[in-house]
């Protein structure tokens, strides 16, 4: 078990290092001069441009820049956002919290709904629920999340006027908590749809597989009810692939969150990300990529640990297939 954990931690570290290098390379090798963004479109004198270039260390060799980059990174310094006139790290962390408010409930809800759908598909009306599940899963995989967001706004905010269209808080409200929830419903639904599709499909497939395994027969031969077999034996085993897929898709759901936030003007990472693209704010872009990757790596390590808790066999062997 210790060996397994150490192995996963080590691999996580390697991944983070890989991400750092990828991040550095794309921001420094690809065309597009950050100076343009710094100085803007003004016809600035060459001497001024050179000074700015020097101030931000952009005139050094690539290796030297990588060195600075790593040293700064180790100190938690992700650079300075020229556009926002703020250090990058606190800026991103601030927004990331707001994104989490949106993502966490969505992921939990989606996992529950996905598993519930899969369980329902094993029940008496299995055939019907199976079709529902397949339909939901296929649609969830095919729907452009930002379009779904637009349609939800048109229907529920503009036409029906049940829910607020954009933002996270109303200016004046009696009950801030309820207000937040009302703002949360539509964007959370968007993120949930894709995740339900992913979870339901995997949960269904693994439950089908588990249901046909021999030990289910042993459990039934004990005389316990169908429901008890499902809850005590099938779900526990089916949880393993479900945990994996939930954990490994955190990165994808982050993408969904960013796109969703754009449409709903949710003040999280999404908006910051889009503004940074428009303003060529490279430090923020690379910072978001870096932090998102680290978050994903951490999510993966947590997944691997949960995996070990759920499956005692994995504790014996450090390698995962």
């Amino acid at each position: 078990m210790t060996r397994y954990i150490l192995g996963r931690l080590f691999w996580g570290l390697v991944m983070v290092l890989g991400v750092v290098v990828v991040d550095f390379l794309i921001t420094h090798l690809l065309p597009g001069d950050p100076i343009d963004a710094l100085v803007g479109n003004y016809p600035a004198p060459a001497a001024y441009i050179e000074r700015v270039r020097h101030d931000f260390g952009l005139d050094e060799s690539l290796a030297a820049q990588l060195g600075h980059f790593l040293v700064n990174l180790a100190q938690g310094n992700l650079g300075f956002s020229f556009v926002n006139r703020q250090p990058v790290l606190p800026l991103i962390l601030d927004r990331a919290g707001v994104t989490l408010i949106l993502m966490l409930p969505s992921l939990i809800l989606a996992s529950l709904i996905g598993v519930a759908l899969a369980v329902a598909a094993t029940g008496r009306n299995g055939r019907l629920m199976d079709s529902v599940l397949t339909g939901v899963s296929l649609t969830g995989h095919s729907i452009p999340v930002f379009w779904l967001a637009q349609i939800l706004i048109v229907v529920f905010a503009i036409k029906l006027q049940w829910l607020p269209a954009q933002g996270m808080r109303s200016i004046r409200t009696h009950d801030p908590m309820l207000d937040l929830l009302r703002h949360l419903v539509l964007p959370a639904f968007c993120i949930t749809v894709y995740y339900v599709a992913v979870v339901a499909r995997v949960a269904r497939a693994s439950m089908l597989e588990i249901l046909h395994q021999d030990f289910v027969l042993t459990a039934r031969a004990k005389g316990i009810s169908r429901r008890a077999v499902l809850w005590r034996h099938v779900l526990r085993n089916a949880a393993i692939p479900v945990i994996t897929v939930v954990g490994y898709n955190v990165g994808t759901s982050l993408t969904g969150a960013i796109l969703t936030e754009t449409v709903f003007a949710w003040p999280g990472l999404g908006g910051l990300f889009i503004n940074s693209i428009a303003n060529r704010d490279y430090p923020v872009l690379s910072g978001i990529f870096l932090l998102a990757s680290i978050a994903v790596v951490i999510a993966n390590i947590i997944t691997d640990l949960l995996y070990a808790v759920a499956d005692p066999r994995i504790r014996m062997t450090p390698a995962r297939v």
């Binding site: 021999d214 027969l217 042993t218 039934r220 004990k222 005389g223 005590r232 085993n237 005692p312």
Partner: protein, 328 residues
Amino acid sequence: MSTTAPAESLLRVDALQVTYGPPSHLVHAVADATLMVEAGEAVGLAGESGCGKSTLARALLGLLPERVGRVSGGRIRIAGKDVTAFRDTQWAALRGHPVAMVFQDPLSFLNPVVRIGAQIAESVRQHDRDVALAPRCRELLELVKLPETVLRQYPHELSGGMRQRVMLAIALGCRPRLLVADEPTTALDVTTQAEIMALLGTLRGQLNMALLVVSHDLGLLRWHCDRLYIMYAGRTIEWGDTVSVIDRPAHPYTRGLIAASRLQRGSNGRFGALRGEVPALEQRLGCPFAPRCADAETVCRDCMPDVTAVTGAHHAKCWQLGSRDAAA
């Protein structure tokens, strides 16, 4: 239908048929099976792989593959109750008690992510709600001669023989009156086989429990069973006291099986082998063994033979038997 006898058999199977697959591709896994087990006795069910013996065993607990296999004829009576048409919920009340089952491969038949203790406890709690769990589990482990430490272990941490003992403990936790053991030792090495079979025999006496052992290994069944049933192509074709069946096999298939299972050597000093293969499980006229039988005549290929008494409780289904009687 037979009237309720004063002392009902623990298990009675009459002319049972089990079919697999959709109507367009119907396969008769069990075509005509007859079986009887009395309280406390040990019965063996033998046959080559694919003859339907495992299907028959599963049908006894209502554990046929859902939506695929179903009982399509005949009847099953357990402790005097006709259970043939039972629904799954009704079957659940019978599973474990009075009829429990142990399976062939003890690794795949144990839940890999649940501790042994919990798997045993589950069967105990299902059948004795009021019993103190921990002492009962210890008692069961003692019965199957396992150390208490296995309670906290997982199936993959045990050896094959230990896992089969765990399977036994789970089955015994239900307090069965009949234990069906489907190829209980096939996955084990020879010494462990002997231990498990000896254990089964001891437990049977200790707990006054009947035993139905399903196996392809006549040599194994011979030493552990009071009576034997021989199955071929979905039909029970010969049954009787073990001694009688082994010493005076009436059906040519049984003779072949005995020769093949090294209970006796052929005249040339070599072990015998059955010619040909088990036919595909489809229904057709005539004795299913006719294509492989050295003595087959026209009647064998056209009509299914009836049950003929060999001696007292020893029966077989073979035309040769009838003609021999007629000739005598």
